[in-house]
Symmetry: C2
């Protein structure tokens, strides 16, 4: 099979009148003469010109949407519009048929909802081909960014016995026979008999383990699946999603913000460079979708413009306290247009407030810092004011929170005190606290929700469309 | 903190007599004068020369093994042996103390078993620093290899409702309250009330979903965690491990073998190039360990030689049938030294047989193909002989099976027939079978156990030492 050339490489050919072999799937077959063949290497199809007068009609009938073909022929400059090359076929082999009566993907526009039901086939559409090639580039860009900065990629555990952060939203993992749960003398489930000898669950974050690595290797990052058993049926949440969590020794919050902003810009820029065609397609897709909306709901910028704008501008950095002042004074707050009115310092910001700051007030990505400690996690470094912590959230237009991070509390006493206040068991996290006992240092880190980045760069509206097989309440198909 | 320079970058400096700031952890402090400081960026320490006569004795007492320091000083050529540069300290700040009475890592050799108990701190040793930097390079090399070949990195689901491959070895995932399991009218556990509306478990392989991607994008790979609830307490098994699973449309078994061999060589070669110092350290470590063994158990080759040998030689390719003939005729079989004697065709190969072929007979990596269908999975392409399938296993010295793969059965009828014979429910895998219904094509793929690759390249003997926080029976600490 190795003489095959992929369509992407073919379209970059500098020669014509050479013999080539391509393999892929039929997108359309027009006039018994023109096959649009796609092999997933690019959004572009290669047009195969069939000498239909000298081709067996039985074969012609088998060239249907979805069929897999191997085509050998001569590469020629195309006479048609919209493509550079054609292949004049000299030999066509049908590798796999596709019954047009039964094939779910017809050469027409299908709704995203319908395509979600056939997620095993949606890779074969232009939209999802583009999305998953962009997702691929973003993932590789993440690795490349950190490797260029000598970070160590660390695989933190997926199954964990620690639920310090889970707050009851962690999935249970067990090997016990649920029909015959072993019990201790006092009637409790006997997890000693479970595979790991204790109750375990799926990780909600690799951060705590990541910090352990950073306290020796200086700079690490994780990139792995994380899980929330949260019953949210929104366009922004998944039960299983991928997170990138860098942790850096000897970093303060400024360093942390600089790194996160650089990472976002690097990955977006990498996708723009390597997936120009896909992003162009997705930009057009979004523009078409926008045309269906009333004038006042349409985007001011195209997808491509939005991505470029993000690269060209410094993210706006301000404190939570400053943000509250802006929000209090804002028109929607005064006119009571917000669902949750901002009345006093300490309020948790809702999506509507984040969107106002990003999309209306600053009109660019925003980094909010120094949140009230009450609405943030136990491990964030406490400020001297006794009220706030060195947290940072990065808010993106149309997405909301894309990054959440902080400088970590490296002072043992302060950390233990806060854990006490928040009811986090210190014994369970003895290993975490050890890093504060032995050679503690200022350090920081953040989490980037990978699917939210993919959402932003592809311009898609639903997070279920940017991961191959989404997991959400009542759905674990495929 | 941003003026800090990492030790690795510092050691590559072309200038001296410049002022630098380094931050890291004390490995040793000799004669109140020489600090060996390590920041994890390299195995090498930077030596800090302390002007002890003009330094506050209180500060000197706080410079203990494990303490975190920030040191500013002048970079000078070292007068001592074994290092290129020293830093003549002008300012030392203790960022975090480390009580020498309590710090578990003393400046002496600890056993690997002991270090496994304190896996949160073992990153701070030379051995584990080297292992996790090598692991990082291997992971990135995997991505780089596939990206250079235009493969799409696909995140297949971790939580799945399909247990076709699990054979009862999959961990259950649930959100039900185990103390109050909901029941249906006939007394069964009512999984409809579970988070996903059905029984789910942790994936044992992303292959089946990977094939769905390949049937549209041509070439994909996964790189993610996989799970086995197998009660094996060996040095080769983990309950949670990382797998790389490429799937390629329009590939036959030859193409598949070529790709796997190229991948292994590429990653090993990348690590040799980028982690020369770490691999040198690990080579020495293994040589020292070997010296403890009786002469006849020592390795013929050093770690470095073994890696180089692997790059320089074609892997030996032969069929299972040929291997059985060799094994039948082998001295250990005739002298009944094998625990499992090879008597007839069809026998499953044990570790001792694999090792004989690789380490004694061919003395290089071996690719075995065309195994009896009875000992292989349902999805492997059936050969015309009716007895064998187009499987391939790659066997490595000291490791055994490092890659398992096959050409996949693309013929719907043959596949359904085999599933029937093996009792695999076809309804549950409707989506998998759809790829054989619509545009099927010859395709192939394999799985590479990432930790086994890391084992091989680091020369470590126990798989629990090459993943940050190993999961195995009765252990899910950290």
């Amino acid at each position: 099979m190795s003489k095959r050339i992929k369509v992407k490489a073919l379209l970059e050919s500098t020669q014509t009148n050479i013999e080539v072999t391509v393999m892929g799937w039929v997108r359309t077959f027009r006039n018994n003469q023109f096959i649009a063949l796609n092999d997933g290497s690019t959004n572009s199809n290669i047009q195969i010109v069939v000498d239909f007068e000298n081709t067996d009609p039985t074969l012609l009938r088998r060239i249907t949407t979805g069929a897999a073909l191997s085509v050998t022929g001569t590469l020629v400059e195309s006479l048609g519009k919209g493509q550079k090359f054609d292949i004049k076929a000299t030999a066509i082999e049908v590798l796999g048929d596709s019954d047009p009566e039964k094939y779910p993907l017809q050469p027409k526009k299908h709704s995203l909802e319908f395509l979600r039901e056939i997620a095993h086939l949606r890779f074969r559409t232009n939209t999802f081909g583009a999305i998953f090639r962009v997702r691929n580039s973003l993932a590789f860009a993440v690795h490349k960014f950190f490797q260029e900065r000598s970070f160590v990629y660390l695989h933190t555990p997926v199954i964990t016995a620690s639920d310090a952060e889970g707050a009851g939203e962690a999935f249970k993992v067990t090997n016990l026979d649920l029909d015959r749960l072993p019990r201790t003398d006092d009637g409790q489930i006997d997890y000693k008999q479970d595979f790991f000898g204790k109750a375990t669950n799926l990780t909600v974050s690799g951060q705590l383990e990541g910090e352990l690595g950073a306290m020796a290797l200086s700079d690490i990052y994780t990139f792995g699946p994380t899980f929330r058993a949260e019953n949210s049926n929104t366009t922004r949440h998944l039960a299983e999603f991928w997170m990138i969590e860098p942790e850096m020794a000897f970093y303060d919050l400024e360093d942390n913000m600089d790194l996160a902003e650089a990472l976002l810009k690097y990955t977006i820029s990498y996708a723009l460079e390597h997936n120009a065609e896909d992003i162009e397609f997705l930009t057009q897709r979004l523009a078409d979708e926008d045309k269906q909306k009333p004038q006042n709901e349409r985007s001011e910028m195209s997808l491509l413009e939005k991505l470029q704008f993000c690269l060209d501008n410094d993210f706006q950095r301000l404190t939570y306290t400053e943000a509250i002042d802006i929000l209090k004074d804002s028109t929607p707050n005064k006119k009571k247009k917000f669902q949750y009115l901002i009345e006093e310092w300490g309020a948790d910001l809702q999506s509507e407030h984040e969107r106002y700051l990003v999309e209306k007030h600053f009109k660019k990505p925003v980094i909010l810092t120094d949140y009230p400690k009450e609405i943030k996690a136990f491990y964030m470094r406490q400020n001297d004011d006794g009220k706030t912590v060195r947290a940072m959230d990065i808010l993106f237009p149309g997405i909301g929170e894309i990054v959440g991070g902080s400088q970590r509390e490296e002072r043992l006493e302060k950390l233990e005190q806060r854990m006490g206040e928040m009811g986090i068991p210190t014994e369970e996290l003895w290993w975490y606290l050890d890093t504060r006992r032995f050679g503690a240092c200022p350090h920081a880190g953040f989490g980037l929700g990978f699917e939210r980045l993919v959402l932003f760069v592809t311009g898609m509206g639903n997070i279920r469309d940017v991961i191959p097989f989404p997991r959400f309440p009542k759905n674990a198909e495929f």
